[in-house]
């Protein structure tokens, strides 16, 4: 019966289908003739695509035309066929004609050289909605306008009035929806199909609104008395209102419901003080070593999350995806006591763009951070600042840093907070200061101590070349490495942070790559008297080395050689400081050795772990982060048994 009804409806719609095909043929002819004219070439598709919503309107408006024109309502409804079937045939026939016309047009785009480029790249003029991709908008709009006209076609056969009225209604509704999408998308304008953050909300709202109109038409058709136009109109209005409200509510909640990107590790497993944490793009997890359980303590959506953990507290940044901008938060390590400290649209006319280098003081009472702020009021512009705030949310203070460090015409290339020094009010800071604006002007490096209470800043080191510093956990010493230029040997030394004196460790004669790729994974033991690192000898050959501060002795071993391909090797100390764990991706194993690098043992990692993994000793175990598979494995160092824990 459905087929019978469908055939009859298709026959009724044949003239409109023919009309649409004729328009497409005319369009093709015009494109082939005038396609060479650059101005016309851009206007032709835009002008033509507008036809589709109108065809949608005409098809929708004519859905019940024959029943009105021929007085055939009673005939149709007294046939032994369910009303749902009738409605479906009424819907499918014109919709398939519209889809068919679209398919023909898309087919033309596929076979006519140059057509798809012109159509897909066509954008509305800047005066309207700058850069909004037109093709998908028109595609959705034709469905939207069709649905509106289809739903109202159960009320009247006045085709012209129906088409015009539904066009106006659709136009107004699209305006309202785009405004909602603008709000949902972080108040960013419709700038591009890819970048407009509210585009998915707009598209979803259009599709759901279309379904709402169709559903309203269905319920009205099933329940209402065709012989009572006013009753039918009231019923349609009621159902349209209800279904549209539901559709819009669902669209409005979509930003909160939409699935985020697949969960991926941001930094893998890390040990911070006594805490083992895992940072992903969806939040920060705390790992309970005894219970072997992860618990999410902070939820976020960020590809590059920033957090600092220690002393039972966690400092973190939220809200890069929010219109009011990011904000800095603090919470207890069990996830309770969440408190916003700063940012998130606090001050009128300004907005924080980003936070960096967030640090908790050793006593956990103060947070320091770098942040960049944009001011929309006079004086307008961006400003990077160092600031501190109490973890109770009080005492926000902007801090001047590095006065006198940068000379005239110089600028900070980068600034870092390396560590809190022993005193809770002192920071160890480092900056690259560049004389000129180009990358050829290599920045000089300045390391200085910043006493927060007095504001005194004491320069510890100034080097004419870039230097990397890796301070020990107590920030008494730092491993530093630098070189004059890419062809020079690399000098590795230990810097006394109290005095600024430097003690040479070794010279790498032919270092490869940048600073961070020449000395790989430098890591101090907990007591700060040993530092281990990997030396890159060749593009893919690494050997470990350990510097023993008390003995002032460097231990290196060419016997432990790690062939590194694309994946990175890494090092870690066990909590007792007696073992070093080397993650060897090329050997797909963990190398376990002592500080003297004499004793060696190799433990293969499970075969299901990818080569892109890192190892982090924690307690009596080693936790391996498998980045490719987003998995965490635990190796019990006593039994050497593996267990997948994430």
């Amino acid at each position: 019966m459905f087929k019978t009804l469908l055939l009859k409806e298709w026959k009724d719609k044949a003239p409109i289908a023919a009309f649409g095909l004729a328009l497409e043929a005319i369009f093709l002819a015009v494109f082939l003739i005038f396609g060479g004219n650059r101005d016309l070439r851009e206007l032709i598709p835009g002008g033509f695509l507008i036809v589709f919503p109108f065809i949608g309107l005409i098809l929708g408006a004519g859905a019940f035309e024959s029943e009105f024109r021929d007085g055939a309502w009673a005939y149709l409804l007294s046939r032994p066929v369910r009303k749902e079937t009738v409605w479906l045939a009424k819907l499918v026939a014109p919709l398939s004609v519209l889809a068919g016309l679209w398919l023909v047009f898309i087919g033309l785009m596929a076979v006519v050289p140059g057509l798809s480029d012109v159509v897909l790249s066509f954008k509305l003029p800047d005066m309207l909605e700058s850069g909004l991709a037109f093709f998908p908008l028109i595609l959705l709009s034709s469905l939207f306008f069709f649905s509106i006209a289809f739903s109202f076609s159960v009320l009247t056969d006045k085709q012209l009035g129906l088409v015009l009225g539904c066009f106006l209604l659709g136009f107004v509704l699209e305006g309202i929806l785009s405004f909602f999408a603008f709000l949902a998308g972080g108040r960013e304008m419709l700038t591009s199909i890819g970048r407009f953050p509210g585009l998915d909300v707009f598209g979803l709202a259009l599709v759901l609104s279309s379904l709402a109109f169709l559903a309203a038409a269905l319920v009205t058709f099933l329940k209402s008395d065709f012989s009572q136009p006013k009753v039918k109109a009231k019923a349609l209005a009621k159902w349209c209102f209800l279904f549209l409200a539901a559709a819009w509510a669902l669209s409005a909640t979509w930003p909160a419901l939409r699935p985020g990107p697949k969960e991926e590790f941001a930094s893998g497993i890390e040990v911070a003080g006594n805490e083992v944490v895992l940072s992903t793009n969806r939040g920060l997890y705390r790992y309970d070593l005894a219970r072997e359980r992860f618990k999410r303590i902070v939820r976020w959506r960020s590809e590059y999350p920033d957090s600092a953990v220690g002393g039972g507290k966690v400092l973190y940044v939220l809200g890069y995806d929010r219109p009011e901008g990011p904000s800095l938060w603090v919470a207890d390590m069990n996830g309770s006591g969440k408190k916003r400290l700063v940012g998130g649209g606090g001050q009128e006319g300004t907005q924080v763009l980003w936070f960096q280098r967030i640090r908790l003081s050793p006593d956990r009472r103060t947070a320091v951070f770098l942040y960049e702020e944009v001011s929309y009021t006079s004086p307008r512009g961006h400003q990077m600042s160092l600031a501190s705030i109490g973890t109770d949310g009080t005492g926000f203070k902007k801090l001047l840093f590095g006065p006198g460090l940068a000379g005239a015409g110089e600028d900070y290339s980068w600034v870092g907070i390396l560590a809190w020094l022993e005193s809770p009010d002192s920071l160890l800071m480092v900056a690259g200061i560049r004389k000129g604006p180009t990358v050829r002007d290599r920045p000089r490096t300045v390391l200085w101590r910043y006493d927060l209470s007095s504001g005194a800043q004491t320069k510890l080191i100034e080097s004419p070349v870039p230097v990397s510093f890796v301070p020990d956990p107590a920030a008494k010493s730092a491993l530093s490495f630098s070189r004059r230029d890419l062809a020079s040997p690399m000098e590795v030394s230990i810097l006394d942070l109290a005095t600024g004196t430097s003690m040479p460790v070794m010279t790498v004669e032919r270092p490869k790559g940048s600073l961070s790729s020449s000395i790989v994974s430098p890591v101090w033991n907990r007591d700060g008297d040993k530092v281990a690192f990997l030396i890159r000898h060749d593009d893919d050959l690494l050997t470990p080395a350990v510097y023993l501060l008390k003995e002032r002795r460097l231990v290196s071993s060419d016997d432990v050689r790690i062939q590194e391909s694309r994946e990175s090797a890494s090092l870690g100390w066990t909590a007792d400081g007696l073992k070093i764990i080397l993650a060897d991706p090329s050997g797909h194993s963990l190398r376990i050795t002592g500080p003297d690098l004499a004793w060696k043992r190799t433990v293969p990692v499970p075969t299901s772990v990818s080569k892109n993994f890192a190892a982090c000793p924690a307690g009596d175990a080693v936790l391996v982060s498998d980045y490719a598979n987003v998995a965490v494995w635990r190796l019990d160092l006593k039994t050497e048994k593996w267990k997948k824990i994430w």
Binding site: S66, A72, Y75, S78
Partner: protein, 298 residues
Amino acid sequence: MSDLLRVEHLSKSFSRQAVLRDIGFALEPGRVYGLLGRNGEGKTTLIRTIMGVIPRDSGVISFKGLPVTFGAADYKQEIGYIPEDSFFYGGLTVGELLSFNGRFFHKWDARRAADDLKRLALDPAAKVRTLSRGQQLKLAFVVALAAGPQLFVLDDPTSGLDVPTRREFLRDVIRALADGGTAVLFATHLVHELECIVDHLFILHGGRIVLDAAFEQVKDKARRVVLGFDGEPLAFPDPPNLLVRRRAGTDVELVVYPWSDDGERALRSAGAARFDVEPLGLEDFFAAFVCDGRKSRE
């Protein structure tokens, strides 16, 4: 005999104005039911409600003992329906229309449809919208009969037919259908047409079924009584079951249903010089029920 169609407590209103109130009746196979009512009394509404064309406010409709909902479709396989107005899709040809209908009905008799077309001189190639009102009605009969219905519902359709065709349908087709076991519900305001074919009468008035009786009973028990007085009519009490009382000069005319011996005794003692009793025709009976107003006074 079991009911083919049963309607119980059916009510329907438009814009809060009740059109049908607590309607109840039953149809049995093989009988012709006349549904009489003045224009606007709700005959079409009642039939459309039965056919599931419009929803009912309340009440139960059962077909072959099974209740049918507003959206039900299967029971319509057994019903041939001819409405009062223009009906079909005008863009189809007669042949296309028959083919279109044939796909809906399981018992569709294409040969009978073709024969009927020929007999009624309808051109299969003609567009439906080019047919006259009478031809469209003939086509409606062809469509309804080819479906082999157990219930045939006609909503006042014959006014558009010429006299020979109307008579042919009434006497031959409808009677033949009923004799073959089909129940026929015939709504009309052309009351006289029913007299030759009807078995049972319903009169719809004020939204209610005010008469539900076998036509034989109506013929037997409906009487016009004329009391003729030599001068000013004497006062006398209304007889039982009086429908109409009307004065014409020195005569008093009464319509009584059902006529009874008690009524006759009461009227004969009214002191009239003349006393005439005669059976009442269906048209007069219907008029007495709904048109003249019941118990109108001198």
